[in-house]
Point group: C2
Chain length 305, copies 2
């Protein structure tokens, strides 16, 4: 099913055209038949980087790589009568006719729906690679439900494990005074020099989205906010986050940055943000590129006036 239903500018890594086949994937016979079906296609990954050929996803037949026995694989879904799989060929893979490229790099040129498939495959293969053992008892696990699960192989345990999705709150804090409108952006030490972005943090057990937003802004900026509002969301395959984009309003302008997390934190005017988004290179800062939800939160706010 094509679920491209987001309003406004589409977000990279959304728009996946595949039907995830939630019921069929429970049927081991159906899955086994798809693995041998000449209509099925495989997307190979090396170190979680997808195989690209002529600027598009490098789908292969199972026979092109001598089958996928022995390699970790997952069912991505079905499209018409063709099942699509992702397969992790390990660090030494080499396939003629194309190359393995980083997910961020390919997101810049792939059609939106192909970027979404890259994200889905990367998140799932990465999870399987890091979950070969049972967190409950330490025994080896095995892949089940076409990659939608792993099961502990110890007869005494048999615990079921499911791929993680880690919800992250990312929020644009805004403020208005007599002179104009402002938004809050900070710099994590790992950012390239000059880059500022919206604040963000993992949602913790036992808190709502709205509470997580308020907590993060309190911790990172020392600021109280009101009127937390959901804006849009984006899957983010590093390794498997769900970015939940919000806005929140601050009445106060005084910042107490958390210097453990940030190396700078500033209010930016709407005009500054408009200028940087329109490509003005004379400013002494820049913001994340179009493939990140932070860019869209900023653009939506800049165009709000």
């Amino acid at each position: 099913m094509n679920t491209m239903i987001s309003a406004g500018n589409p977000l990279t890594f959304t728009g996946n055209p595949l039907d995830r086949a939630e019921n069929q994937r429970l049927d081991a016979d159906w899955v086994a038949a798809r693995l041998l079906d000449p209509k099925s296609r495989l997307l190979p990954y090396r170190n979680f980087e997808p195989f690209i050929r002529d600027g598009r996803l490098g789908w292969l037949d199972a026979t092109d790589i001598g089958g996928i026995a022995g390699f970790p694989w997952v069912l991505l879904g079905i499209e018409g009568d063709s099942a699509k799989f992702a397969v992790d060929l390990g660090a030494k893979a080499d396939i003629a006719g194309g190359e393995f490229q980083d997910a961020r790099t390919v997101a810049a040129f792939l059609p939106l729906e192909e970027s979404a498939i890259v994200a889905q495959g990367k998140s799932l293969l990465d999870w399987h690679a890091r979950h070969g053992f049972c967190a409950k008892c330490g025994a080896p696990t095995r892949l089940a439900k076409a990659g939608a699960q792993r099961i502990c192989t110890a007869e005494s345990c048999k615990a079921e494990h499911f791929p993680r999705v880690d919800p992250v709150a990312i929020m644009l804090v805004t403020r208005t005074d007599a002179r104009g409108d402002y938004c809050l952006m900070g710099r994590q030490p790992r950012f390239p020099p000059g880059m500022y972005s919206a604040l963000a943090g993992f949602i913790e057990p036992g808190e709502s989205l709205e509470e997580a937003v308020a907590r993060e802004i309190w911790e990172e900026a020392g600021l109280r906010v009101r009127d937390v509002r959901y804006m849009k969301s984006q899957p983010w395959p590093y390794p498997s986050s769900l970015m939940i984009g919000c806005r929140a309003i601050a009445d106060d302008d005084k910042l107490t940055p958390d210097m453990n997390e940030l190396d700078d934190l500033q209010w930016f005017t709407r005009d500054q943000v408009k200028a940087v988004l329109s490509g003005d290179k004379s400013l002494n800062f820049f913001v994340p590129p179009r493939f990140a939800i932070a860019h869209h939160l900023l653009r939506d706010w800049a165009e709000d006036s």
Copy 2:
């Protein structure tokens, strides 16, 4: 920090008054001092059920249970100069003066902010209990960062593991025709007889919230929807979900229920929902109680007119 910032009727398990002390909990010396501090308080759990005394959380001094060495524990946060911990005393715990009670039961009578603490402690202790081993290499893990992390004890691995929060989309599908307004509710086989609720499902890797909503409704009801809209969210400690409540609009009324997941699926009129929420016992269905977000999604819609 008190982050009770949700609009409208407050949701059970939200309103946690504790400051999670994200920075202090990284300081092992600070944490060790809090464990020995007579101002600190412990909330004991047995089988993930909190200790209740006189209808309130049964906070104890460390000395009341002979210290917490040997039991799994987590820092919940700080309130003023008192650190609060949750401790898992195992299946055989027995403490005079109160009793261990199920989180759903206590949510019905505890003040909102205490229900939130119950949820936080239950989700965290449950995660620690199921993650004593490293999913990456199978070696034992140890608790770190006051319970906000586990670390693999194998020198060759040292993988860091973080508590899970599993985002779940829960959605009220609505439809309008010349005769009135309808919402869609289904029955999972495990529900008590007569109970109907909003559809829900785990968000999968590589999809946005909006895509997850559309996929679930397509899979469970065979229905296409538009205009997915975020409404509110609730932490749900079974064991550690984040319920993300949405609405979506259907134009078609034809249902194709997924009988693997549901044993019934129906459209209900606004009048029926209003009646059942006002306590009308003459109807042949009922809906989840006030402590569940589904109740609030229904009530908000019923009162929308």
